[in-house]
C-alpha cells in the first residue's frame, strides 16, 4: 500500500445491550458489538486491517479476529490508563489511517464488569497494578484503605472542593442532568428513571465528603465498537461520515490516571489541560465551536475538572456553569446526552464516544440542534468529531 496523508472518519458504531448480567462471555460481547459496528458502516469483517482496544480489555485480539474472520491485520495496539484510554483509541485509529498504514480500524471495548467481576469493589491484588494494567502508583494506596476507584478519585477531588468551596451537592447536579438525559434514552440502564437533587443528597456516602452513590458511574455488562476509515472511503459507505477533525493525548510530567497525587496542584487536571491545549491548536477550533460534549464521567468531579480544563468555563467556575443549567439539553453545552457512564452504562467511556457520533449524524434520541462539532474527552485524551462538509 502506498502511504499518503489523508483524513480519518468514523464510519460505523455498534453496541450490545447494556445490562448487569449479559449471560455470555466478554469475547462474545466483543464479537457482537464489532459485527454491529461493521454492519452499521456497511463493511465486511474481512475489510478490517487494524484493531485497537484498552490494555484492560479481557478479549484477545487474535480470538476476536478469529470470531470475525479478519483476514490480515496490519496493526494492533492497546492503550493503558484505564478509562483514559477511551478517546486515545480514536486518536490511534486516526493516526494510522491518516498515515496510510491501515484502511479500516476496528476499536472495541467489551466487559462483564458487573456480572463477572466488580470494577468498583476493592482492588487488592498485586497483578492489578503491574505496568499497563494500573495507572502508575496505585499500590501506595492499598494498606491505607484507599482500594476502590471511587476512593482514589475522591482523594484528589477533595483538594478541588477545598480550593473552590465546592460541595457534594454541587457535584450532584451533574448526576441529575445526566439521569434526565438517560431517562429518555431507551438504551440506557436508567431509562425512565430520572433523579432529583434531593434523591442524590440522600443517597449513601461512598467516600465522604466527596462522592455519594449517585456521583458514581454504574458497573455494566456490554460492548461498544467503532469503525474508523479514511474520509474518502467513508463517503462511499452506508452512513454519513463523521470526520475526526483532530485527536490527541497529553500525559504531563508526574501525572497518572486516578491515583494522581504527585503533580504540583491537585485542584487542577494538567492532563486534560494539556489535551485541550493540543486539541485546540491542532484543530484551530475553540470551546465555543462545540455544540455539545461527551465527557468521561466515572465520577461527577471529573466532569467539573474537564469543563474547566477544556475552557468551557474558568478554573473553579464549573460549579456555577453546571448550576446555571449549561450542561443540560437546551443549555450552552449539553453533555453526555446518552446519560453518560452514570446514566446509560459504564463501557469504559466508549458508549459516550458512540453518542458523540450519533450527535454529529443527527441520530441521537436526545438530539442537540445544528451540531457541527462534538468534543469527546476521556481526560488524558480527546477528539473533535465533526460533520462532513
Amino acid at each position: 500500500m502506498t502511504r499518503r496523508l489523508r483524513q480519518a472518519a468514523v464510519a460505523g458504531i455498534g453496541a450490545t445491550e447494556f445490562s448487569k448480567n449479559s449471560g455470555r462471555s466478554e469475547l462474545q460481547l466483543a464479537a457482537e458489538c464489532s459485527k454491529a459496528a461493521l454492519d452499521d458502516a456497511g463493511l465486511h469483517p474481512a475489510d478490517v486491517d487494524g484493531m485497537i482496544t484498552f490494555t484492560l480489555d479481557g478479549s484477545d485480539e487474535i480470538n476476536l479476529a478469529r470470531c470475525l474472520g479478519v483476514k490480515d491485520l496490519a496493526y494492533t495496539t492497546r492503550i493503558p490508563g484505564g478509562g483514559a484510554a477511551a478517546a486515545a483509541t480514536l486518536y490511534q485509529a486516526m493516526a494510522v489511517v491518516e498515515a496510510g498504514l491501515c484502511e479500516v480500524v476496528l476499536i472495541w471495548r467489551a466487559m462483564n464488569e458487573r456480572s463477572q467481576y466488580r470494577f468498583g469493589q476493592p482492588h487488592t491484588q498485586a497483578a492489578g497494578f503491574q505496568a499497563g494494567n494500573g495507572t502508575g502508583s496505585l499500590f501506595w494506596c492499598m494498606p491505607f484503605g484507599a482500594q476502590t476507584p471511587a476512593s482514589w478519585e475522591a482523594l484528589a477531588a477533595q483538594r478541588y472542593m477545598q480550593r473552590y468551596g465546592v460541595t457534594n451537592e454541587d457535584f450532584g447536579r451533574v448526576s441529575v442532568v445526566q439521569r434526565r438525559h438517560a431517562a429518555t434514552n431507551p438504551a440506557a440502564w436508567f431509562y425512565r428513571k430520572p433523579i432529583t437533587l434531593e434523591e442524590h443528597q440522600s443517597s449513601k456516602w461512598i467516600v465522604a465528603p466527596v462522592l455519594r452513590l449517585l456521583d458514581c458511574c454504574q458497573e455494566s455488562d456490554g460492548g461498544v465498537a467503532l469503525v474508523v476509515t479514511s474520509l474518502s472511503r467513508a463517503r462511499d459507505l452506508k452512513q454519513p461520515p463523521v470526520r475526526i477533525a483532530g485527536a490527541c493525548q497529553s500525559i504531563p510530567y508526574n501525572v497518572e490516571v486516578i491515583s494522581n497525587y504527585y503533580h504540583a496542584d491537585l485542584a487542577t487536571m494538567p492532563e486534560a489541560e494539556g489535551t485541550a491545549r493540543r486539541l485546540w491548536a491542532q484543530t484551530g477550533l475553540k470551546p465555543a465551536d462545540m455544540q455539545c460534549a461527551m465527557i468521561y464521567d466515572a465520577f461527577t468531579p471529573q466532569v467539573f475538572k474537564q469543563l474547566e480544563a477544556f475552557g468551557f468555563c474558568g478554573r473553579g467556575e464549573a460549579r456555577e456553569f453546571v448550576k446555571d443549567g449549561h450542561i443540560a439539553l437546551g443549555g450552552r453545552l449539553p453533555i453526555n446526552t446518552n446519560g453518560g457512564l452514570i446514566g446509560e452504562a459504564y463501557i469504559h467511556g466508549m458508549n459516550n464516544i458512540a453518542e458523540g457520533v450519533r450527535q454529529v449524524r443527527g441520530t441521537s434520541v436526545n438530539p442537540v440542534p445544528d451540531v457541527e462539532h462534538v468534543l469527546v474527552s476521556s481526560g488524558m485524551a480527546a477528539a473533535v468529531l465533526a460533520k462532513d462538509r
Binding site: 468498583g120 502508575g136 502508583s137 492499598m142 491505607f144 484507599a146 465522604a208 497525587y261 491537585l266
Partner: protein, 144 residues
Amino acid sequence: MKTTPDPAAAQPMRLAPIVTPDAKFFWDAADRGELVGQRCGACQRFRFPPRPMCPHCHSLEREVVPLSGRGRVYSWIRPVHPQPFGFAEPPIVALIELAEGFRIVSNLVGIAFEDVRAELPVAVEFEATQGGHRVPVFRPVSAS
C-alpha cells in the same frame, strides 16, 4: 524464656504493603519504624514515588535518607462503602505533604474525621499490618 503467642490476641488486620523492587527500601525502613525518602546522589533532590533514575540530572546514584516525619494534611477522605479491607471502621485516608516537599498517601489517626482541616500539622508513627510489617501513619501535633 520463649513465649507462645496467645492465639486469642488480636492480629493486625491492615493489609501488608505491596513491595516492588524500586520501593523495597521504603517498606524495609517502615518495618524498622523509620520513615525514609529517596534522594538523588548527584543533585540531591528528593523524588517520590521512588524510581531508579533522577528525572532532573539522570543520575542512577541514589541515597536513602531519614525524613523528619513531619508534614501537613493536603487532602483527606473517608472511604465508607464498600468497607476497605483491613479496617474495622472506615479509616481516614490522607495525602500528607511532608516537610521535605513531597506527598505520600497514608492514614490520619487520633483525630475525628469532622475535625480534620487542610494544612493540619502531623507527625509520623507506625502501625502493624498482616504478615508482620509496619506502615507509616500520621497523628496531629501542635504546630512548631
